[in-house]
């Protein structure tokens, strides 16, 4: 039930990413809802869950983009892994940490996406344009992350079944 709900949410995030998110464009950047979801899962459910959801969400994104299937999934993986690794060593996480994690993940995601596209021979934007877009997207995602995190946390607590004592 929990997994099915997760799949539905990730599919909804990917579809919203390809239909609604571009309308929220500011300075050439728009939020990445799937990335926000993956960071939130990494924070709440741990690295392994985040890695699996990163692949599922990334593949759904790949199906809405042009070119090969896989670059978005690959690009989401390092962020999910590193956030999980980082929060393990964090004593008192707060909203600023969550926002920083989203910003760093976005930069990593952008770098891996551009590198993978370059490796696969898909046209990539010039480095200056790519950097400009990646920074704008990182700031955008960082601002939205605390809200997304709270949403995911509440949703997960809805599905959480208390253990018998």
């Amino acid at each position: 039930m929990k997994r099915l709900a997760g799949l539905c949410l990730m599919a909804a995030a990917a579809l919203a990413q390809a239909t609604w998110a571009p309308h929220l464009e500011v300075g050439g950047a728009f939020p990445n809802l799937v990335l926000l979801g993956v960071v939130a899962v990494s924070w709440t459910l741990g690295t392994r869950s985040a890695l699996v959801w990163a692949v599922i969400g990334g593949l759904l994104l790949d199906l809405t983009a042009s070119g090969a299937v896989g670059p978005h999934a690959l690009a989401l993986l390092p962020g999910a892994y590193l956030v999980g690794f980082w929060i393990r060593n964090l004593e008192h996480p707060n909203a600023l940490h969550v926002a920083l994690a989203a910003g760093a993940c976005t930069l990593l995601y952008s770098a891996v996406l551009v590198l993978t596209d370059g490796l696969l021979g898909t046209p990539v934007p010039p480095p200056s344009v790519a950097l400009e877009l990646a920074l704008a997207a990182a700031a955008y995602n960082a601002v939205l992350m605390p809200v997304a995190f709270e949403l995911v946390r509440r949703l997960l607590s809805t599905f959480h079944t208390p253990q018998p004592t």
């Binding site: 599919a11 390809a18 090969a68 952008s110 046209p123």
Partner: protein, 272 residues
């Protein structure tokens, strides 16, 4: 100890998934996988179409509320006016706008002399690096990769990938997009490149002639990628430097991809 073991398991899973997705990306990019890729994308197209249609409904409702609030502020006497009537007016206005766009598209089709296939925009590229949009027409409708896509206003881009019932269009806003154009008044020619916020045109210096604001940029047909005569945009600003060999021109695109909902695929032009 347990923490280190969990970390090691996560690292192993991470490496396996990285290798698997990279392999998938390399395999799915092969020409023989294009069909399967198109079918997979077409499978997602109905859901995208439904989501886009839902988004339009939400926008329409939001615009109704926006209209209502502004009318209240402007005129106290209209406070008691019937909300449903206003909504109908807004909806009729929206329908009229759509009719006008369709009529413009029809006029464009007639005047251009090209055969075209009309398509709805059902989605957009998920990242900021590639400015693409997905349309609800594919190979079954005669759409093929490389075909030119326009709206009633002018050139929009080109078909990059096609599935049976959907296609992905690379718009002129894509940083990799290039189109050769000439300016309507000065007849100067150059190559226009895409960008996230505006279209950039580079025009080599010519003695005695310089580009001016308000000129139209029109496809020149040079290179054979696009047919000659499609309107691209209007010159918004010109940066001239004597030390440079070319003028940098900013072009205001006639199309706004964020609000484009309906496009025309030119099916009888084959890029060389």
């Amino acid at each position: 100890m347990e923490g280190a073991r969990a970390q090691s398991r996560s690292t192993r899973l991470f490496l396996i998934l990285c290798a698997a997705t990279l392999l998938l990306a390399m395999l799915s990019q092969q020409p023989w996988a294009a069909g399967a890729r198109g079918v997979a994308r077409s499978a997602l197209a109905p859901a995208e179409g439904a989501m886009t249609s839902f988004a339009h409904q939400v926008e329409r409702v939001a615009s109704v509320f926006g209209d209502v609030s502004s009318l209240r502020a402007e005129n106290q006497r209209l406070r008691a006016a019937d909300e449903q009537l206003r909504r109908q007016i807004v909806e009729l206005n929206a329908a009229a706008k759509e009719n006008s766009a369709l009529r413009q598209a029809l006029d464009f089709e007639k005047s251009s002399g090209h055969r075209m296939v009309a398509a709805n925009v059902i989605g957009r590229g998920p990242d900021g690096f590639s400015r693409t949009m997905q349309i609800d027409r594919g190979t079954t409708d005669g759409v093929l990769p490389g075909m030119v896509v326009a709206t009633g206003a002018g050139l929009l881009g080109r078909v990059r990938e096609v599935g049976p019932h959907a296609a992905i269009v690379q718009t002129l806003g894509d940083p990799q997009s290039r189109v050769n154009v000439y300016l309507s008044a000065s007849k100067l020619a150059g190559t226009l490149s895409g960008g996230p916020t505006s279209l950039q045109l580079e025009i080599p210096h010519t003695l005695g002639v310089s580009p001016g604001n308000g000129e139209w940029a029109i496809t020149s047909g040079v290179g054979g990628s696009y047919p000659r005569g499609l309107v691209v945009g209007e010159v918004a600003s010109v940066a001239h430097r004597d030390s440079s060999t070319a003028d940098q021109v900013q072009v205001a695109w006639v199309n706004d991809p964020s609000s484009t909902t309906f496009v025309l695929v030119i099916t009888d032009f084959q890029p060389s």
